[in-house]
Symmetry: C2
Subunit: 256 residues, 2 copies
């Protein structure tokens, strides 16, 4: 049977899942996608995701690949998958790609966004999608500190201990904090802060550890310049706390 | 004990509630606010809302009034109420107002918004806040029809039967459909449709009946001009279906 390689772009509200990756207990996005594809295939299908998002982390544009043999056209398949998946998970695009495409190994860049609600009261519509920090934050210092992370550095201080990796060196092409009116439709007067980060790869909990550290800077518990020291021979304990999962979104995955 | 009159502005995600109004069964927004205020008062408190929203309908700026005798300052009280309320309900403003202020009787205008997701796939973040209509819709006809509703008319064709009211004549100062990028933070490429309506008062299910009828126009099941006929001696069966509750938001209540 001729094999066919699918590229899926997926959005999900991660609130109630154990994360992207299949686990022994609990529902995962990978597991539910594999179930849906397997039921169409009539046999097991493995789904490879571009990146593993933790429990509670959301995605606007996660990318996955899967080899299948059925012949449904892309439009029909997209509808069939969404009919079977829970409404928290939507396949937003589905394309046929060459056999050499692999969502994880082929990914050249990923972009994440972290939302902070800086208003005194967090609107009910954002309670599952933003970290609520009503206290004063020094945004200019956070912006200065964020910029220092751009480039090729050792991000060993910003990762969960216990995960073996070949190298903790990563290259960031973007790292910035900005203010913007979030969700014009639902809460017109709201000013959120968004941290956007793009890199060639990310260590486990790296974005959340960076956000926790930048928030320390915003709270004036550390100076913007001190961030540079964390990129040289520093340990996880030297950086700030891990920001909560529910403010984080995997926004986009790029391929060459 | 000297009485004090409070004006509360409230946002809520109506998904899991029986509606604004206290019911024998289930949790209501009014009931939960009364519980929270009563526990501070140490005695029963009645909360008057500007308008009764149905089960599943949301609010960005519902207004309520309540007479109490405790003396906490507004800032402390706001924090205490939000600490006690579930995260789906947030008091976003709290002010001391004159004894003559009554949230319902004093309201001169209310504005509602109805969100329609017109994309092929509804993003998971909007599934509880927009009516998903992926089929083609004639937006220009919907806009033309919406405009015909502005002014003083008999809206008897757009209300739930069985609710006795003195008159079904209401005055709308605004009624329009527009396209816009919803929720820049969560789904940048999204184009929703929003229906905005402002009037001096609304009959039960009136906004949802209007939206259902305007969508009939968008689907070319009725002409834009036919809307005018519904304002003259028409019955509920002559208008379109009632749009689902979860796309509707009470946006703002105005007082003189």
């Amino acid at each position: 049977v001729p094999e066919r390689n699918l590229k899926l772009t997926i959005a999900y509200d991660g609130t109630r899942f154990v994360g992207w990756q299949r686990q022994l207990e609990g529902e995962s996005i990978q597991g539910l996608l594999e179930e849906a594809l397997s039921s169409i295939e009539g046999g097991p299908v493995t789904v490879h995701g571009a990146g593993r998002t933790d429990a509670g982390v959301h995605a606007l544009g996660q990318v996955a690949s899967a080899a299948v043999t059925f012949s449904h056209d892309a439009q029909t398949l997209l509808r069939a998958l969404n009919a079977q998946l829970p409404s928290e998970i939507r396949v937003i695009r589905l394309e046929d790609v060459g056999r050499e495409f692999h969502a994880r190994f082929g990914a050249t860049r990923k972009t994440y966004r972290y939302l902070i609600c800086h208003d005194p009261v967090i609107p009910p519509f954002h309670r599952a999608f933003a970290w609520h920090l009503p206290e004063p934050l020094d945004l200019v210092s956070m912006q200065d500190a964020a910029r220092l992370l751009i480039g090729t550095h050792d991000f060993g201080a910003f990762r969960s201990t216990g995960t073996p990796v070949r190298t903790t060196v990563r290259t960031l092409s973007d790292s910035r904090f900005q203010r913007y009116a979030a969700d014009l439709a639902l809460a017109p007067d709201l000013s959120h802060l968004a941290y956007e980060i793009t890199g060639d790869g990310f260590l486990r909990h790296m974005v959340r550890a960076i956000v926790g550290t930048l928030v320390d800077v915003g709270r004036r518990r550390r100076s913007p310049d001190s961030i540079a020291l964390l990129l040289e021979n520093a340990g996880r304990a030297d950086a700030g706390p891990t920001a909560p999962a529910h403010g984080l979104f995997l926004v986009r995955v790029d391929y060459d």
